[in-house]
C-alpha cells in the first residue's frame, strides 16, 4: 500500500515513513510510553488485584494513608481507597473514553468532510455552515451544561462514559471535517478519480475506496493529537464534578478532592495528574513525529 501526499503526487512507501519516524527519538519514546500505559490499564488489575472502590477499614482513620501503610503501595485517597488500584481503574476509564470519543469525532468529521468536499455546491455550503456553528459554540461551558443536565435528569450512576463519549465526540468533529474536505477538494480533480468515474464506479465507492485512503495521512495525525485533547477535556469535566461520577475512578475525579488534603497528602494529588501529563505528553510527541513522518507538508 502506498500513501499519496496532497498535491505533490509523489508516493511514500512504508519504509520511508518508518525511516522518517525513527528520526524522532521523543516520538518513539512517546509510543513506548503509550503502549506501557495501555498495558497498565488492561492488565494492571491482574498483577495488583485490589478493589479500587474498597475502603481499608483496618488502617483508615479519616485521612489519606501514606504510601506503604497497610500494603498500599502508593497509599490511599481521602476515603481509604487504594490509590494504585484507582489509578489502574482510572487509566481504563480515561483511555477508553478518549479512544472512543476520538473514533466518533473522526468518523463524523470524515463523513461530513468527505461529502462536502466531494459533492461541493450547496451540500458543501450547508455542511460548512454547520461546521461554523459547532466551532462557534463555546466547548467547555456547553459540555458542562450538557453533562449537568444529563446527570440531573437521569440517576447519577447512569452518567457513564458512554454519555461523555457521545457528548465530546459530537462537539469536537469540525477540525476533522475541514481537514478531510480540504483534501477532497483537490483529490476529486485528480486523474484517478476521473478514471474511477469513467469505469462506472458509484459515488460511495469513489469516496471510500479511492479518495479517503489518499486523504488518510492528515486524518491519522489529527486523530492522534485529538486523543491528548480529549484526555485533558475528560479529566477537566471529571475534576469539576460533571464528568465520570464517583465512586467510579477517573484520573480527573481522583483530583477533585485532592486540594483539601494537599498539605498532608501531596502524593494523592501528584499521582493522577502525573499519569494525565505522561499520557498527553507522549501522545503529543507521537503525533508530532507522525506528522513529520507521513505528512511532511503539513508542518
Amino acid at each position: 500500500m502506498a500513501v499519496a501526499i496532497n498535491d505533490d503526487a509523489f508516493e511514500v512507501s512504508r519504509n520511508t515513513v518508518w525511516r522518517r519516524f525513527r528520526r524522532h527519538p521523543m516520538a518513539l519514546a512517546g509510543a513506548i510510553a503509550i503502549v506501557l500505559m495501555a498495558l497498565f490499564a488492561a492488565f494492571g488489575h491482574f498483577i495488583y488485584p485490589v478493589d479500587p472502590n474498597a475502603i481499608d477499614q483496618v488502617n483508615w482513620t479519616g485521612y489519606p494513608l501514606a504510601p506503604g501503610i497497610g500494603g498500599h503501595i502508593l497509599g490511599s485517597d481521602e476515603n481509604g481507597r487504594d490509590l494504585l488500584a484507582r489509578l489502574i481503574a482510572g487509566a481504563q476509564v480515561s483511555l477508553t473514553v478518549a479512544v472512543f470519543a476520538v473514533v466518533m469525532q473522526i468518523v463524523i468529521g470524515s463523513c461530513l468532510g468527505a461529502v462536502a468536499g466531494y459533492y461541493g455546491g450547496w451540500v458543501d455550503f450547508w455542511i460548512m455552515r454547520l461546521t461554523d456553528v459547532v466551532l462557534s459554540i463555546p466547548l467547555l461551558p456547553v459540555l458542562l451544561v450538557l453533562t449537568a443536565i444529563v446527570s440531573a435528569t437521569s440517576n447519577k450512576a447512569s452518567l457513564s462514559f458512554g454519555v461523555i463519549v457521545v457528548l465530546i465526540g459530537s462537539l469536537t468533529w469540525p477540525p476533522a471535517a475541514r481537514l478531510v474536505r480540504a483534501s477532497f477538494l483537490s483529490l476529486r480533480e485528480r486523474e484517478f478519480t476521473e478514471a474511477a468515474r469513467a469505469i462506472g464506479s458509484g459515488d460511495a465507492r469513489i469516496i471510500f475506496r479511492h479518495l479517503l485512503p489518499n486523504a488518510i495521512a492528515p486524518i491519522i495525525v489529527q486523530a492522534t493529537l485529538a486523543v491528548a485533547n480529549v484526555i485533558l477535556l475528560e479529566s477537566v469535566l471529571s475534576f469539576l464534578g460533571f464528568g465520570i461520577q464517583p465512586p467510579q475512578a477517573s484520573w480527573g475525579n481522583m483530583l477533585a478532592n485532592a486540594q483539601t488534603n494537599i498539605t498532608i497528602a501531596p502524593w494523592v494529588a501528584i499521582c493522577p495528574g502525573l499519569c494525565i501529563l505522561i499520557v498527553s505528553l507522549s501522545i503529543n510527541y507521537l503525533g508530532d513525529g507522525l506528522r513529520d513522518a507521513i505528512d511532511p507538508n503539513q508542518r
Binding site: 459554540i137 461551558p141 458542562l144 486540594q259 493522577p272 501529563l277
Partner: protein, 323 residues
C-alpha cells in the same frame, strides 16, 4: 474592504441566531429550570410555583419562550439571575473586571515571552536553546491545568519557599485580601493564577511563532537581505520578525473569547471569583438566564474575533484577497 466587513457582519447574524437557538434548546431541557432555587424553599407552595411559572412564561412551548428571550435580548435585557438575585447584566459586569485583570495579564505575559521564545528557537534551530524551549512548550501543551495549578500551590503557597533569605508564601486563593486592599496586595494575589495560565498560552504562542518564523527565514527575500550584507540582527528583526507575526493574528484571535469566558478551571482552583466562577455557580443552580447570557456572550466573542482575525489578516498581508 468596508463592504467585506459589512457583509461578514451580516453573515454572522444568522450564525449567532442559530447558536443561541441551539443553546436555548439545550438549557430548556434542564429539570426544574430557573425555578430550581425556589423548589427547595418550604415557604413556597406548589401554587406559587405554578403562578411563577405562568408569570415567567415557563408554561409556554420552548420556541415561544425563545422568541420572548430573544426580544428581551434585542432590547438589551438578558433577564434576571436567580442565583445572584440581580440582573444578568449586573452580575456579569460585576465579575468581568476580575476576569479581565487575570486574563489580560496572563495572555500579555505569554504573548511577549512566547514571541521571544519562538524567535529564539527558530533562529537557533536544533540547538540546545531550541530543544529546551520546544520541550517546555510540549509540557505546557500537555499539562492538565488543574493539576498544574495544584502543584504550583503546593510548591509556592502551601509551605512557602525561601528566596534571598526571606520566607515567602504566595496567596493561593482570591483576588485580594479584602475590599480596601492595596495595589501590591492585588499583584501578589495575581502572581500564581496568572503564571499558571500564561504557561499554557506560552506553549501555544511559542510553538506557533517558531514554525511561522522558520517558514519566513527560509524564504527568498530573507536570503536576499542577508546577501545585501545586512547584519543578522537587522535581517531577523526588520525583515523576518514582522512577516512572521502575521500568522500570529489567527492564534491571538482564538484567545480573545477567553478574555470574557475566563478560565473556568483556573478560576475555580484559585477561588478567583470572576466569570468562570460565576458560570460554575450558576450551573449548580441551573440559573437559566445567566447560563444563557454567559454562553451567548462567549459565542458572540468567538464569532467577532474570527471576523477580526480575517480582517486583520487581509489588512496585514496584501496577498490575501477579500472574498
Amino acid at each position: 474592504m468596508l463592504s467585506f466587513v459589512v457583509r461578514r457582519i451580516f453573515q454572522s447574524i444568522p450564525l449567532l441566531l442559530l447558536i443561541s437557538m441551539i443553546l436555548f434548546g439545550i438549557i430548556s431541557q434542564a429539570p426544574g429550570g430557573p425555578l430550581t432555587p425556589y423548589l427547595q424553599n418550604p415557604h413556597i407552595t406548589e401554587a406559587d410555583i405554578a403562578r411563577l411559572k405562568h408569570n415567567l412564561g415557563l408554561d409556554q412551548p420552548v420556541p415561544i419562550q425563545y422568541l420572548h428571550w430573544l426580544w428581551q435580548v434585542v432590547r438589551g435585557d438578558f433577564g434576571y439571575s436567580t442565583s445572584n438575585s440581580e440582573s444578568v447584566m449586573q452580575a456579569i459586569l460585576d465579575r468581568l473586571p476580575f476576569t479581565l485583570e487575570l486574563m489580560v495579564t496572563a495572555i500579555g505575559v505569554a504573548l511577549i515571552v512566547g514571541v521571544c521564545f519562538g524567535i529564539l528557537s527558530a533562529i537557533k534551530q536544533y540547538s540546545w536553546v531550541d530543544f529546551t524551549i520546544t520541550t517546555l512548550a510540549f509540557f505546557g501543551q500537555s499539562m492538565p491545568v488543574f493539576w498544574f495549578a495544584l502543584m504550583v500551590q503546593l510548591a509556592f503557597s502551601v509551605n512557602g519557599f525561601t528566596c534571598c533569605g526571606y520566607h515567602i508564601a504566595l496567596p493561593s486563593a482570591g483576588h485580594s485580601s479584602g475590599e480596601d486592599s492595596g495595589f501590591g496586595d492585588r499583584i501578589v494575589h495575581l502572581i500564581l493564577p496568572a503564571a499558571v495560565l500564561s504557561v499554557l498560552y506560552l506553549a501555544q504562542f511559542s510553538r506557533f511563532m517558531r514554525s511561522s518564523m522558520l517558514e519566513v527565514i527560509h524564504s527568498d527575500y530573507i536570503r536576499t537581505a542577508s546577501a545585501k550584507g545586512l547584519t543578522r540582527f537587522n535581517v531577523v528583526m526588520r525583515h523576518a520578525f514582522r512577516n512572521a507575526l502575521i500568522p500570529l493574528v489567527t492564534i491571538i484571535a482564538l484567545t480573545i473569547p477567553d478574555l470574557v469566558g475566563g478560565a473556568i478551571v483556573t478560576e475555580r482552583i484559585f477561588a478567583w471569583g470572576g466569570m468562570g466562577s460565576l458560570f460554575i455557580d450558576a450551573l449548580g443552580q441551573f440559573d437559566f438566564a445567566l447560563l444563557m447570557g454567559f454562553m451567548c456572550l462567549s459565542a458572540v466573542f468567538v464569532v467577532l474575533s474570527n471576523l477580526a482575525a480575517d480582517v486583520c489578516y487581509a489588512w496585514l498581508d496584501p496577498r490575501v484577497k477579500y472574498t
